[in-house]
Symmetry: C2
Subunit: 429 residues, 2 copies
Amino acid sequence: MTMDELARQVKESSIKLAAAGAELKNKALANIAESLKEKKEEIIKANRDDLARSEKENLSAPLLKRLKFDEESITDVVDGIYSLINLEDPVGKTLLSTELDDGLELYKVTCPIGVIGVIFESRPDALVQISTLCLKSGNGVLLKGGSEAKETNRILTEIIIDASAAAGIPSNWAALLETRADVNDMLKMDSYIDLIIPRGSNDFVRYIMDNSRIPVMGHADGICHCYVDEDADLDMAVNIVVDSKTQYVAVCNATETLLVHEKAAPVFLPELKKILDSKKVELVGCPKTRALIPAEPAAEEDWKTEYLDYKLSIKVVSELEEAVDHINTYGSGHTDSIITRDREKAVHFMDYVDSGNVFWNCSTRFSDGFRYGFGAEVGISTGKIHSRGPVGLDGLVIYKYKLLGNGHIVENYFNRSKTFKHRSLNKEF
Amino acid sequence: MTMDELARQVKESSIKLAAAGAELKNKALANIAESLKEKKEEIIKANRDDLARSEKENLSAPLLKRLKFDEESITDVVDGIYSLINLEDPVGKTLLSTELDDGLELYKVTCPIGVIGVIFESRPDALVQISTLCLKSGNGVLLKGGSEAKETNRILTEIIIDASAAAGIPSNWAALLETRADVNDMLKMDSYIDLIIPRGSNDFVRYIMDNSRIPVMGHADGICHCYVDEDADLDMAVNIVVDSKTQYVAVCNATETLLVHEKAAPVFLPELKKILDSKKVELVGCPKTRALIPAEPAAEEDWKTEYLDYKLSIKVVSELEEAVDHINTYGSGHTDSIITRDREKAVHFMDYVDSGNVFWNCSTRFSDGFRYGFGAEVGISTGKIHSRGPVGLDGLVIYKYKLLGNGHIVENYFNRSKTFKHRSLNKEF
């Protein structure tokens, strides 16, 4: 089958899936969870084949680790599916209802986006997570995984399609793409695919963003900042900066740059350095920083770099406004935190920093769909259209307007024989 | 000043504008309205210069008509600004509030998108409408009008910038671009511009969509359908189809294709033809249509064509499903209406037709922000990301997450010394 035909089939099925009720979708999700448990030996075997082949092909250790999909991974994704079942159906919610005139009722009702293209590197758990999120939100999905995980991805996709079909979902709602050429084809299919979600490295996400006219939801960089104000509780500030930098360095919501008010810096930086030294964090800093603590000089490039490592860049600023400007210039619009006792300054920071997540007196590491209580997460978006910050199921729906009349025509309102009433109905469709 | 510098200035000012309160923005809007009235002679003179030059340059009559900006146009845009002032501020609304844990509060609050790039052909009223919508929603704006309207656009932009600056809005929040080269520069400025709104012909909108990686809000085609079901009230159906086709033919929500159930067609089509003949509507049809009424044969291309004229393509279908498939294949996702007495069929149609506006027993011409009661309209979107259908002020905002803590760090939740509570707060930020 050609890629074009495959995408057309998914598109067609997505329209039927869009009309499926919550009960049917949840039944399909439960079937998928049960089937994953039943077939765990086969899944683990397929993954062992992928691991063996990839080891032979000298795949790097971190990538091998991400490729591994064992009994624990299966338990995790199955738990994820059960919590997804318990979430409210995002489709069919009435967002607005207005009586335009007697007998002419307008409803704005949530519906699926249509077809989502998901492109991910090695991690097979992303395949299960995103495809079940798409199912719950009524979207068709084209999945493209890394070739290193091809056996694992095949069996997982087969299980997901078969188990959902057994519940009554049209089997073409999901499809797996396998070759690199498929990705480039996919990026051109704006007539069938409504949204692309890339999961992977910065370079990978940026490549996708640069090579498709289809909207992309995700983030390339996560250059997060902590700003320690002159009015900060310095013990609290040390705790928050240490957590933001070191709690888990390889993630997008870890802090990469620390900004410190010049009045706080002389006491704060030496205290902070003691803890960061114990965690082996490499420091680079501006000249004012280096006058207070030992650190390598920071280059312009450092302010734009997502280290994803035990490394922190530090800049001493003379006022709040300088911190805000620095963040808006070098940040990636992901997550930025101010540590201060002064509410007014905190509010100013949160108003003026142009990021999806703006924090006061807490760690940047809280920027996450599970921590926010969304239950399931599609990813974190640094875009400013549709969804921003951690994206839950709500990010996979849009709405349509349904207008119910009784022979109403516009000419009557044009010639003023009738006038609009625009009364709020507060009524579900 | 280079284009890059100009865009950077607008971006910087947009961050200050984002934090402006409703009162300040409304004061600026009132200043703009007053200033437009005061300077109406100058505006009309500038427009006369544009008209005279464009006439000499042999601009077509319809384009000259759109270019004209007279006393009535000024009254209209001023009225528009006063109704905009009365609309609720779309910025600063709390969409969600959750207590993640004791003293750790999450708020999802609406905020402006940032910088909007607006590109429009001749009509100067679009410049006033969109820039005041951007101001009300706290967005910076880069305006690019047609060169035929350059004098009118210059004076309008000057008035808007000066009058808003007099109220205390940073003067760089808006800027006018004038050359064709500026447009292509603008399409590349994804680091400064967050959204592009093109207003103009289909080809123009498609060019913009094809040549920028910045998200575009709008529609290229409006291929709208009426489907007359076997269970339709045929008198009502005639009224609705005539209104949908002829009430105003040159607009995107006018119907281009009529689908008729084969059981309704023999009685319905001859009745409809009588009225359409009196309005000089040219008909093209499928073979089954032509067996019932005189009409030219419809080619495959007709089903994909937005006539924007007194012309209608007609297809007889054997069931509801065939109508739905036709619309999903050839339509543009704009507006489609079913005429039937059968509620179940209507609901099916509205669920399965993948368009932004799905209607039951009323004219497709209702698809409009003013008729929907939104008060002001940015345009109509056939996209499925962010906004769909008629877009009001809500389409110009996004949200940010504000998290307020008291020294909270993630490590405590990771090592299970603390657990999340995720209690809904129902509290405004």
